[in-house]
Subunit: 217 residues, 2 copies
């Protein structure tokens, strides 16, 4: 039987896989444009998507690393636009007490979306209000969620402690991230220009800022 | 106040966003190498990651579209290596009765991983055995999970109805997908060569094969 002859040789040790992965990323990626405080998060972002050229499209505010350190030191809640982001967070590496919130499947969301004439992802933002001040926001899917968050802030709503903006795709994604980059609200941010992004990158941004890399833990 | 002057113009209608997105992908992507039965899934894959050049790295077996149609007609279960894939599936577009299973957080997994000397992602595969024959498997993260699945099949274990192989990253990802492409077990598959992949693409593969695109629903 042909199946008897098949065997596979591959690395099985989780710690070795992590170590080799981050080592390859460090060897291949050009991180020279990033401050050293952001190298761990950039390495996590590259690791999450398999693309070495991610750093060329990253944009961040000068106070991002400090803002992240401060937010996680306070065990600030982490708000996510979609469940995929929430499920990509390494909970054991978040500070004890950090609350992870995704409101997309809250039963109130469809009514809010209909009333506002927008997506459920954007409507879900309105349920964050009372905990949003100083919180960590990770947007990994919906441009409308990032736009609506900025709208709420423009209207005088609570200001997150930092925004990790990684909407992906072809309609509004690049534009929503440019709006984040241009935001006049002095909110620290990290984002990736263009169409790339996604929930894995948004989760990696949280993981990288919350706890760096395994080798440094 | 500066915030009073800020406003954002963007598309808010979910149906219009989908329509425009898929229209841009159709206009920009070169799908000529793919059979027409796979255009919807290719468009979903591009849409999920924001990268028009995905089709150049896609590899599939000739019987993939038929195998997917057959599996979903039987309401075959969908096995996922990580929760992010499971949470990326559009449940309303799967056949009624389709069971979505991710075993990664099953309490038995750490012991199995330790006994086998492998990752939790790979160990979780061993809990699928009794439902795996003819099922849909979507791997969006772990090369070790894809390798271990192929090992189990080589050892005479149950054969899935189709394998959607999208491990991502730098250690074993490309190799595990080449092993899938070279598999001698006649299992229908879809995969992407190289380091790219991830849970959003694995979920998009299921969504695209199960139900095509919204405009065609």
């Amino acid at each position: 039987m042909v199946s008897e002859q098949v065997s596979y040789a591959y690395e099985k040790d989780p710690a070795a896989i992590y170590r080799q992965s981050f080592s390859i990323v460090r060897a291949e990626a050009d991180l020279s444009a990033l401050p050293s405080a952001l190298h761990p998060v950039a390495i996590r972002l590259i690791h999450a998507c398999g693309m070495i050229d991610v750093p060329q499209d990253l944009v961040w505010s000068g106070d991002l690393a400090d803002a992240a350190r401060s937010a996680f030191a306070r065990s600030a809640p982490v708000f996510c636009d979609v469940e995929m982001v929430a499920h990509g967070l390494i909970r054991s590496r978040l500070p004890i007490g950090s609350n992870v919130v995704c409101s997309l499947n809250d039963p109130r969301v469809p009514d809010i979306a209909q009333r506002l004439g927008t997506t459920r992802s954007a409507a879900a933002i309105d349920l964050w209000a009372d905990q949003l001040e100083g919180a960590v926001v990770a947007i990994g899917n919906a441009p409308t969620a990032l736009f609506h968050l900025l709208e709420n802030i423009a209207a005088g709503g609570p200001k997150p402690g930092l925004i990790l903006g990684f909407p992906v795709g072809f309609v509004g994604a690049a534009e929503s991230k440019e709006a984040l980059i241009a935001n006049p609200f002095d909110i620290p941010f990290l984002t990736i220009r263009g169409r790339r992004g996604g929930s894995a990158m948004a989760a990696a941004a949280v993981n990288g800022l919350a706890a760096g890399l395994p080798e440094e833990a």
